[in-house]
Amino acid sequence: MSEEKKPARKKFECQGLYNKVMANHFYELDEASKTGSKKIAWCTSVGPAELLRGMGFLVYFPENHGAMLGATRMATELIPYANAIGYSPDICSYLTSDIGSFMQKKTPLTTAYKIESVPKPDILVFNTNQCRDVQDWFAWYSRELKVPMVGIHTHRDIGEIRNFQVNDIAKQTESLIPALEKAAGQKFDIDRFKEAIELSRQASVLWRACLETASAIPSPWTFFDATIHMGPAVVARGTKEAVDYYEVLLKELNERVAGKVAAIDNERHRIYWDGMPIWGKLSTLSNQFAELNTCIVASTYCNSWIFDQLDPKDPFESMGRAYTELFIVRDEAFKEKYMQNCFEKYKFDGMIFHDAKTCPNNSNNRYGLPERISKGLGVPQLTINGDLNDLRCYSEEQAKTNIEAFIEQLDER
């Protein structure tokens, strides 16, 4: 055998700052949870975090905890506990692993930050723009912890956006205020809310700019880097910390582009990734792609996490718009067009669709889209079967061979 090629994933200088932002987020929550110094709201990933910040809540995101359970590979052990109380192995494995984790009193926060448990909520706030699972997930905690739950019900499968949809979401968001005021023990402060909206917008603009540096050839970073560095955009949405972090990250990425520093040595292929990350296999997959001199330059998961429609001049309406324009709630025609635009920007030569067993909402391969888009763009596509968190649904050898064969196929072109 020829000598194994060593993959080289380049470290980011801002990794230290990243670790600090994430650690502070959890320490602040832990302290508030223990002392009651501040109220805590749990929020779904694209829930109304800005409104919650405007109310003075610290915001905790169970989906982020779900991703940590996946990345630390604790999930597969914990999911069965939720299955045993009636939560099917076929539903969201963030949900099942998170509930399993709560039942077993085990959290990755302990190893990472010496934090014993997730913070206690004062209120649970969902937005079904991700899926219905988030509502059922929070409902379990609401019953278990006897904590109020409120939420927004998003329109789905939307083509062209109409005013009634935006207005409806804006109204639903606004109507949460009395329940939030009650849980917060304080009055709604519109200026604080507007400030959070503005910070969220700024972070989004910067995050978009960071992602777009991957249009450079060679790309300065990969999907695997972005899934990690997306952390502050998720957990610190609406804070100054997130804005500061993305300023630093963008500077570093721009320097890489200027210096032609490639994330993947000898970048031969550029890939679009659709679907959720396979959290427990991020580093294995990252190494495999690096060995194949292939860079995943764009992804639905990271690239659709942009809310630059937010506008402090019109906070509720712009929130309604941002949540309604979101990729995940759009129809197939929009999704197809979105990927075509990505193709023009990122110039990828292959597309990989991850069909996540437990997340149909983020698996865009199920209605013929890969075939249509591949034909339209003349770009080959591959679907791999797996899951975000439940590694029982993933055959590593099959995925590995499929990916390798796909790159061979691209080489033949």
Binding site: M1, N385, T401, N402, E408
Partner: protein
């Protein structure tokens, strides 16, 4: 004594069988060997190579380069490079039939549908999902359940007069269905034909077929009735390479030649 001949070796370590093919400079198959992969892949590969060399009446020095493929491709100590089994089946099938085609490979643990253009380049490929449906493993499991030696299944299927249809995706559910059919007094050849048909259905529903079909893998080599079934179900010409089971190994040897 040194051997002045030039041979290229392809080693295909599948989940079930290991295959070695030796090609000379004119791409003739001069030696081959097939063995159960077992648990020590490197050793099985080594043993297969020795057998193939004996068949080719050649010494080890004659092997100029080796490419390995299949599930255990990285375990071959004497290999110069690796390729995926998808690439090797494509290469091997195109070697025998140089035209655009759909390759259907039914292996021990997985199956593949690979489409090639007229230059032999892959247009796309699909492997089965995680389960055993449509693979050799399904037939093996069923032969054990029915207590029929696997090598007798082909002959039995050919005797069938009225096929029993099985509906399930899942191997375990299929086994239950089979038990149900036995209880109903269905004839064994008809059940076996139903099992074969279930393999065919699972494979054909993976992708659209562009004719002709080239069938590869050990399962069709030993069960020619499957090929007949594919022909009659699709109405499309179904071709078989010289040794369907060796297609991947031959493809690997061809890659070795190009290194």
């Amino acid at each position: 004594m040194t051997d002045n001949r030039v041979l290229y070796a392809g080693v295909d370590i599948g989940a079930s069988r290991t295959k070695v093919a030796l090609l000379d400079l004119k791409k003739n198959l001069t030696g081959f060997s097939i063995k159960k992969s077992g648990t020590d892949f490197s050793r099985t590969a080594e043993e297969c190579l020795i057998e193939a060399l004996i068949m080719a009446n050649a010494s080890r020095d004659a092997v100029t380069r080796t490419v390995s493929t299949g599930y255990g491709r990285t375990n071959v100590t004497f290999s110069n490079d690796t390729r995926t089994e998808i690439g090797c089946h494509a290469k091997g099938a195109f070697h025998y039939f140089s035209r655009a085609m759909t390759i259907i490979d039914i292996g021990g643990q997985d199956n593949k549908v690979i489409k090639l253009d007229s230059e032999g380049r892959r247009i796309n490929f699909k492997m089965n999902r995680k389960c055993a449906a449509g693979t050799g493993a399904f037939l093996e499991e069923m032969s054990a359940r029915l207590d029929i030696p696997i090598e007798e299944m082909d002959g039995l299927a050919k005797q069938s007069t009225e096929m029993v249809e099985l509906g399930s995706f899942c191997t375990v559910f299929s086994a239950t269905e089979v038990l149900e059919k036995i209880r109903q007094g269905k004839k064994v050849p008809d059940i076996v034909k139903g099992l074969f048909f279930s393999v065919i259905k699972r494979v054909l529903e993976m992708d659209l077929i562009t004719p002709p079909i080239v069938m590869t893998g050990g399962v069709v080599e030993h069960n020619s009735y499957l090929v007949e079934m594919i022909r009659s179900k699709t109405g499309v010409e179904a071709l078989l390479p010289e040794h369907p089971q060796l297609t991947g190994a031959v493809g690997a040897a061809l890659f070795a030649m190009e290194l």
